[in-house]
Amino acid sequence: MDASDTEIITAIRGGDVGRFEELVRRYQPRLFATARRYARRESEVEDIVQAILVRVFQNLDSWRGDAPFEHWIMRIAVRVCYDALRAHQRNREQPMAELSEEESSWLENHASSPEDRTDDTNAARSLVARAFEELAPASRLILTLLELEDRSVREISDLTGWSIPLVKVRAFRARAEMRRILTRMGVEKYL
């Protein structure tokens, strides 16, 4: 039977640093999925996950066990991802390109139709990714957590350390910002 998180952490605190590898193996898939929502390329994903896990290790003594370890590690993950987004802000890569054929086709097919279709999620993901690239870091973080990961306002408050009213205000502003970006991308002509 697998050891619990608490047992492994107790062992690590007792000096058995090698046990940290078990925690890494247990949580790295989830951390990779999280980091991929914020990184620009795969090499950056690995750097982000490494930064998360190093910070987890260095702060293990501060986990008191009053919340599940998974919540605690995800809190660190969100904050490291937010730091990475803010670093992107300082190192913008390239201006917005025109819509691809796939993206234009998605907009033509979906913009006038009220139903949600399940086909061609790749084009939607690509459009959202392009729009998210242009968002301010806080806006992107909020919309990723709230709308892509479908988390509640309370969960987001807990993960980010922001108050609930601040989360709501930022969500409102983020949605408005995304609408402006979509307008700049030229999606309005498909409405």
């Binding site: 260095q58 990714a129 709308e147 892509l148 979509l182 309005e188």
Partner: protein
């Protein structure tokens, strides 16, 4: 359909596209090397941010209370009509509570 409806539809569709949770081969080995090579965290680092915030708050409180105290002295002096210069009032307002502080004698000859 308006822009917000389209935005929500776009996000709902993107949500259905799964994000990969694939892990590079032997990534845990990389992590174990990284934690062994990482410098030990400064134990005072968590205190630094808190102390800076406390220092800024203390400065803000000092400025506010000094300003308030000075205003009180100005108002008191104006109603008494003694014509004490603002600079002297400011000096007393900010330094008045310090032990050993003596306000300058306005009648003393200037050097």
């Amino acid at each position: 359909m308006n822009l917000e409806d389209l935005r929500q539809k776009l996000v709902r569709s993107a949500r259905r596209h799964p994000v990969s949770d694939a892990v590079p081969y032997a990534f845990e080995q990389r992590i174990m090397h990284a934690i062994r090579d990482a410098p030990a965290q400064d134990p005072f680092l968590p205190w630094v941010a808190g102390l800076w915030r406390a220092a800024l708050c203390a400065l803000a409180v000092a400025l506010l209370s000094g300003g308030f105290h000075w205003r009180e002295l100005v108002n008191a002096s104006a109603s008494a009509g003694d014509g004490v210069p603002d600079a002297e009032l400011l000096e007393v307002a900010v330094l008045g509570d310090l032990p050993g502080f003596e306000p300058a004698d306005p009648d003393a000859p200037t050097p």
